[in-house]
């Protein structure tokens, strides 16, 4: 009886997991499937299989410029936010200083504020300053909300380092700079890479904050949202699916490289 119930409970979790992942992936599978739809005007009803959408991802007006904007904004925002956030993470993880509590609060608050409030308040200040909304206001906004996530991710990595490794380097007559360059930084680097990936995906997928501060600039999520009413072309599904597989590829490749580096050492 005990083994039976144990077997049941183990499989209950398994069944539950399958259902949970099913729930997560149903819309992704749907998006992927309908990227092959031979659609006319609106991609709502299945009309037959075609590869044309994948052959011509830019075949519809405005899709690719929007995608290009998203990538450019994502890369720029990731670059700036990763540098600024990593510097803060090192300050928090490696130094004692006055104002630590204030700094922690300032990092935490943007993550704890609804995107709507972040977007709306930025729009208010941009309007008050009479700034032109567009590419750069989106970049500013994205850097702002990405910094906190970078800090938290990199800080966690720094906190998980074994302090003995740095002590060992110092014992072997490395000065502080050399210890940082040859021990600390390489050990923190995977955390920084992870933070950058997180920042890019947050920026690339952001809709609410972007919608407030975009002016006439169109990013990919804005394109999808504005075209949803009139019927979305399957090219949007192609781009969404392609980004999904590309991201999976990067993560899996990162894991394999990470393992190899570990084995190599």
């Amino acid at each position: 009886m005990k083994t039976l119930s144990r077997w049941f409970s183990r499989n209950l979790i398994r069944i539950y997991m399958v259902l949970g992942f099913g729930y997560l992936f149903v819309p992704v599978a749907y998006t992927f499937a309908f990227s092959f739809n031979d659609y006319i005007k609106s991609n709502l009803v299945w009309r037959g299989f075609t590869l044309n959408n994948w052959k011509q991802p830019c075949g519809v007006l405005d899709v690719c410029p929007a995608l290009g904007n998203s990538i450019k904004i994502g890369l720029l925002a990731t670059f700036i936010a990763t540098i600024l956030g990593t510097l803060i993470a090192f300050a928090l993880g490696r130094y004692a200083f006055r104002g630590r509590a204030v700094t922690n609060t300032l990092i935490f608050l943007p993550m704890a504020s609804p995107e709507l409030v972040l977007g709306a308040s930025l729009l208010t200040i941009f309007l008050n300053l009479g700034m032109n909304l567009g590419f750069w206001t989106i970049v500013i906004a994205h850097v702002m909300f990405c910094i906190s996530f970078v800090v938290v991710t990199v800080k966690a990595r720094i906190a998980s380092l074994d302090p003995r490794l740095e002590q060992a380097a110092m014992d072997l007559y490395a000065d502080e700079k050399e210890t940082f360059r040859r021990i600390t930084f390489p050990l923190v680097a995977p955390g920084i890479a992870g933070a950058a990936l997180l920042a890019f995906s947050l920026s690339f997928d952001d809709f609410i904050i972007t919608n407030f501060n975009s002016g006439t600039t169109i990013t990919f999520p804005l394109y999808v949202y504005t075209h949803a009413e009139r019927g979305l072309p399957a090219q949007a599904n192609v781009i969404g699916s392609a980004m999904f597989f590309l991201a999976l590829l990067i993560v899996v490749a990162g894991q394999i490289v990470g393992k190899k580096v570990k084995v190599g050492k």
């Binding site: 997560l24 504020s113 972040l118 809709f207």
Partner: protein
């Protein structure tokens, strides 16, 4: 996201003590946050007390603090609905994510990392696209509706989309990874010996789960529910795509006031009230749940 609960940091005593270096490291990032997070919030607070001026679309600062009250009264229905929907979505997400995180932490062996990646993976397929996909899956021409129609569970006149449950399910779906990762983070750190000890002391699997596993995973539960509740309460995309005019949340109101009506004072007042409302709820919740720092 797991990092949110994980990072406790080393104690201050073992950190280097230097005067200027940390401030130089902090300066650029904190300056950015001061300019583009703190200053905008202050501008928001002051914009809320402006009143219409002479010109069309012009607002003058008159420090009319009653704007806050008027806006709150005007949108109290949507406020209530937002917090109700966000609470339901958070509970639903918790119910789905807890077994998921438990399974990944304890039952997945060498597939742990792959499953973790899979939890986050849907994020990479645009959030708007996935919400639209839900609309079409649940829609009257979608596969699920037809299947339910064949089973006589629904009639041709029933709606799955454009309902409050659809909005709630959509919200729970969108923020599920935010719930799952912190839960996994705290479950994974439970020492298996503690669970064994509980078994040795004659508690059965259920008692062990209730009295050992659940209390030890509380930090993850708190972080996960906050990371789900906060964005859900301020969301308007799900209500826009999956809802109807009677399921409008406060986000829809603020969005429309800002971008369509361009009634900036009201929109600013509502945004600030939303922020304060969420902060108060979060503080009460953290008090009750009794956890320490989250960052």
């Amino acid at each position: 996201m797991a990092a949110v609960v994980r990072s406790s940091g080393s104690t201050t005593s073992e950190l280097k003590k230097k005067s200027l270096v940390p401030y130089l490291l902090l300066a650029p990032g904190l300056l950015w946050l001061a300019l583009f997070f703190v200053a905008p919030i202050i501008t928001l607070i002051s914009t809320a007390t402006k009143t219409p001026g002479a010109g069309i679309g012009e607002f003058v600062q008159t420090y009319r603090w009653a704007n806050y009250w008027d806006s709150l009264v005007g949108a109290s229905g949507q406020f209530g609905r937002s917090f109700l929907y966000a609470t339901c979505a958070t509970l639903l997400a918790l119910a789905i994510a807890y077994p998921l995180a438990y399974g990944i932490a304890f039952k997945s062996g060498k597939y742990k990392n792959i499953l973790l990646v899979l939890v986050v993976a849907p994020f990479f397929c645009s959030f708007i696209l996935r919400t639209i996909a839900w609309k079409q899956i649940l829609g009257q021409e979608g596969p699920l509706f037809r299947f339910l129609l064949d089973l006589h569970i629904v009639t041709p006149t029933t709606h799955l989309t454009a309902t409050a449950p659809a909005v709630i399910v959509g919200l729970a779906y969108n923020f599920l990874p935010f719930m799952t990762l912190p839960l996994y983070g705290s479950l994974e750190r439970i020492d298996p010996r503690v669970l064994e000890a509980s078994g040795d002391l004659y508690s059965n699997a259920f008692t062990t789960f209730r009295k050992v596993t659940v209390p030890l995973s509380m930090p993850g539960v708190v972080a996960g529910t906050l990371l789900t509740f906060i964005p859900a309460a301020g969301d308007y995309v799900n209500a826009e795509i999956l809802g109807n005019p009677n399921t409008k949340m406060i986000g829809n109101v603020i969005n429309a006031q800002f971008l369509n009506t361009q009634d900036y004072p009201t929109a600013a007042a509502l945004s600030f009230i939303l922020m304060i409302g969420i902060s108060i709820l979060v503080m009460i919740y953290i008090r009750k749940a009794g956890t320490e720092e989250l960052v």
